[in-house]
Structures are given as C-alpha cells and as structure tokens.
C-alpha cells in the first residue's frame, strides 16, 4: 500500500519570503512523486514530478521540490512567494509499477501568502 502525508493543513508566508510545503511518502519500491495545485473552483494543475535523476526538480511557476530518499520526503519550495501562489497544494505518489498508474494523494496543504 502507498500513502502520502502532508503534516500541515495550512502554511502562512509573507509575500517575497521563501516557502516550503512538506510531504512525506510511503511506497513499496521506487516512487513517482508529484505536486499539484488547486485554485478555487478549478481542477488540479500539475506543478512538477520526480521520477528519477536529480533530486532537485524544477517545475511550473518557479516552484521546485527536493526528493530525499532517506527521509522519504518530497517538499515543495519556492524562493520568493507571490500572493497569487495562494491555493491548495497536493502531493501525490505512485509506485513504479506500470500496472498501477493511479495516484494516491495527500490531504492537501492550503498556502496563504500575505501581501
């Protein structure tokens, strides 16, 4: 079984400051890891993914995430937050098992960026 934990329901950060949204995962074998963002009344938008290679992954809108295998973490980061980054962020995992491509999502973290 695979699972994802997002320990923070909400993260508050001032505009211009760096932000981190935490994610840890549990999966048998090597993971595919993803971050999605959900704006109000809209579907999920893909931000970035980790499959293999460099542990630091760069994605859309200036976001990046760091894969840490020993800590089973995949934290989302951005050097300088914007008010427009305020949204709901989901971390997701999929085992490297081509027979099962469905995602397991974390509970979500609401990011609030204050002007």
């Amino acid at each position: 079984a695979q699972s994802v934990a997002q320990p923070e329901d909400q993260v508050n950060v001032a505009e211009g400051n760096p932000l981190t949204v935490k994610c840890t995962y549990s999966v048998s074998g090597n993971p595919y890891l993803f971050w999605y963002v959900q704006y109000p009344n809209r579907g999920l938008q893909f931000l970035l993914k980790y499959i293999t290679g460099d542990n630091l992954v760069k994605g859309s809108y200036g976001f990046e995430a760091e894969f840490n295998k020993s800590q089973t973490s995949f934290h989302l980061k951005k050097p300088s937050a914007l008010v427009s980054d305020s949204a709901l962020y989901f971390c997701a995992v999929r085992a490297l098992d081509m027979g099962r491509r469905a995602l397991t999502f974390g509970s979500g973290t609401r990011l609030q960026v204050q002007p």
Binding site: Y32, F34, Y36, R42, G43, L44, Q45, F46, K49, I51, F90, R101, A102, L103, T104, F105, G106, S107, G108
Partner: protein, 114 residues
C-alpha cells in the same frame, strides 16, 4: 498534453436519484481515472477505466453505486446511483497520455445532493 472537459460542471440533485457525469478528452488515452473529492478533503480514487474492459474499482467503491462506461478511447461516463447527501462531492476524471509521465485532470463536477 490533454484537454479534458466534464459535463455537467455542477448539479443539485434530490436524494434517491442518479446522475451521469461525462468526461471527454481531446486525444486517445488508454486509461482514464475517476476521483472523488469530498468537501474540504483530498482526492480519493474511485476506479480506473480501460476501454473495452470493465472498470477496476478501489476498496469501498462498487459498480452498482458507481457504474462506469468507457465506450472509446476519448470518452467515459461515471454514474452516481441512488444518491444520498454523503455523495455530495467534486468528481474529477483524469488521464495520463502516453509520454506525459503525469496525469491531467478535468475541471471537475460539483455535485450537491439534497
């Protein structure tokens, strides 16, 4: 990439009735997925729908309650049957085009059951 549309975008239904949600993709895809997002909660996979075969349901979801059709490689429907207020959720379909390496999600169908 893939562009996904869902119909209806939202609906308000009476207890005991059924609603069919449509998912249309602008390209052919092998697998389509249906997720549920209950109010204030995360996404939970309902089932995986492959063209030409029966859908595979996750634990806690059954075909009688959530029948799925997948008549071709660009279209699927999810029916929510005999609805109760507990079925009030956002229902999302998603696909993973062959080389994308990630899933694209539709805009969702917001269902309210009274």
């Amino acid at each position: 990439s893939a562009v996904i549309s869902q119909k209806p975008s939202r609906d308000i239904c009476q207890r005991g009735t059924s609603l069919t949600i449509q998912c249309q993709v602008d390209s052919q895809v092998t697998m389509m997925f249906w997720y549920r997002q209950q109010p204030g909660q995360s996404l939970t996979l309902i089932a995986t729908a492959n063209q030409g075969s029966e859908a595979t349901y996750e634990s806690g979801f059954v075909i009688d309650k959530f029948p799925i059709s997948r008549p071709n490689l660009t279209f699927s429907t999810l029916t929510v049957s005999n609805m109760s207020p507990e079925d009030s959720s956002i229902y999302l379909c998603s696909v993973e085009p062959g080389l994308a390496g990630f899933q694209f999600f539709g805009p969702g169908t917001r269902l309210t059951v009274l």
